[in-house]
Amino acid sequence: MNFDYDSEQNDLREAVRGLLGRAYSDSEQRRAVVRTDPGFDEKTWSRLAEMGLLGLPFAEEDGGMGAGPVEVAIVAEEIGRVLAPEPFIETVVLAGGLVAAVGTTEQKGELIGAISEGTTIAVFAHAEPGTRWTPTAQGVTATRSGDGWTLTGVKEPVPSGARADVLVVSAVVDGGTGLFLVPADATGLTRTGYRTHDGTRAAHVRFDGTPAQQLGADDSPTHPDRTAAIERALAQARIAYGHEAIGAMDTALRTTAEYLRTRKQFGVTLNKFQALNFRAADMYVSLELARSLALWASMVQEAGGDVVQAADRARLTVSRASRHIGQEAIQLHGGIGVTAEYSVGHYTSRLTAIDHLLGDGDWALDRLAGNVTSYATVDPLGAPYTP
């Protein structure tokens, strides 16, 4: 049992922190980047690729670095620390993770290498208007068409959906949910991108008889149900977003504490007011508890434990902490916290976005409550973790 990074992981963290710290040394730099499409900095994306970060979790034979979830978590936390808008989790953990999990050797060879090199941005087109946070598709249908497939229906919101070079799309097939690859230039594909409140981008994506390639071997007339693979990829992304949130909360708290030390009202700095200090102390408590669970979830993933349940547990605690810290960070700043010109509110905005990407705290709690009385206690050291 050990929560410390090893020296290579510490080096990785320093390197990522250095790179992203230069790219987004203040919130004005980030504001300038997110003002124009694609909502992130292509040069920074290339530098992430050069450092090997975009291939971190993939097997070396597929063109990746062969690292694990802890390394991914380290990158995600540093992204959160400066609110780097690059679609790292979307491309590497979600879309890339699905390709790595169910793709054929050929598909992996083509896509994993390109993702790792930074030349292809792939995203997972999964959310649909009218449903929320399910591992299945309902509004996009896949139909056999000769040797291939066509997709029809709407996905929205799709993070970075307008910029993506390749979409990994979930769609209804006989017997469940299938996964398909759709290149950006496919016929019958209409993408309408827009800004989101946190500065990133999302898109309305319409498929109208759009030709698609099945992800995984297409050697039978039916498509296998990919719900379990999707559930797993979503869980891994929930854990990674949890680390991004930890990084963001850490900065939000440090920014708030600095503000309390320096801002004067009634002739004294705000840290002379116990009511404010106590609230900051509670923010610290929330942050450290959430950090423990996020780190643990990554370790469960690495150990091959029940990643879905571990992700739900992390999601619940990180969600609660995100709302607490995000809201208090603004309140303790006062009016300046609500302005776009000051940094801290952007952290709250991003934390709010993360909270709604793949399931909020109440959603996770509902899943955990379903079987909570069927076992006596949780043993977090049980390996692999099983409740």
Binding site: F3, D6, A257, L276, S292, T317, L368, G370
Partner: protein
Amino acid sequence: MRLRLSPELEAFREEMRTFFTTQVPQEIRDKVASHREVSKDEYVEAQRVLNAAGLAVPHWPVEWGGKDWSPLQRHIWREEMQLAHVPEPLAFNTSMIGPVLASFGNQEQKVRFLARTANLDIWWCQGFSEPDAGSDLASLRTSAVRDGDDWVVNGQKTWTTLGQHADWIFCLCRTDPTAEKKQRGISLLVFPMDTPGVTLRPIELLDGGFEVNEVFFEDVRVPAENLIGEENRGWDYAKFLLGNERVGIARVGSTKSTLAQAKQHAREIVSGGRPLSEDPRMAARIAEIENDLLALELTALRVAANSADGKPHPASSVLKLRGSELQQAATELLVDIAGPLSLASFAEEGSDVPDWARVATPHYLNYRKVSIYGGSNEVQRTIIAGSILGL
């Protein structure tokens, strides 16, 4: 980072679990499990079983019976003890005065007290809080005035836990009322509770029990050799001692057991035509507390796995604050599961109300103390704000 315990630690955990569940008498553990009052004899019996196996004071220096364990081993030892419902070794002896004597006492005092302290041959109580010195402990006024070879002690202590069982008291006294800082003029004296001039008045608590007392001192003569450490350095020893008090204060194992009991009882109680455990709001409440407890446990493990270099991990301040809140959340949960049965708190024979439901409210009311003692949660927030956030 590594999730699993090493094979050695896994074996160590198994060894602890086996010992606690087979060597400590079942009747005593059942009492702890059902939140019933443990008698003095039972405390003594349990601690002597542990001490005979070297498991009462593993955190002491090796020459005085300690084990030279890693913080993680100590964590496992404590958690397994709580999960097995073993009464923990008396904190006043093993976590407080014992380590102070081992660190600051002279050789004579160590020889005189330590072995008997570990074996609970001496039952110690704590003379710290006073009516006008609670969270502001340094304002204490109980005085000790030197007279020949004795100190003469006058004043009053309060909240003296289990003082009714105590043979000896370790007592903070003001020995230099002229000191510039109030922390500087305090000394630590120890003396028997049956010394002439010592009287004890039990304080009844909301649960109907008597666990705390007022202790009055009237011209109590204490031999000079009973001064621990240096004169007027008592505040340093008190801080050292209270730092030890915080170790293990998260009480995760204990809360985990309470929560497991809550789940069990929620299955037994019928509400709205179904087991209460199937009520979505109740299930969600249990799941949320359980997840909060997991976060606390992992934080305690982070602290334990990291504190090998001797410096306390910054996150350790979270443990007392959150640990007490979750102990309280679990006891409150039991009252709510008991519902109307919780009113039968003082029922005796002739009542159909199960034992757990009878003790639920007294336990809940009693446990309001845990966010107050050992440095109230407001004191903990002050520490976090000041020493971690720099506020």
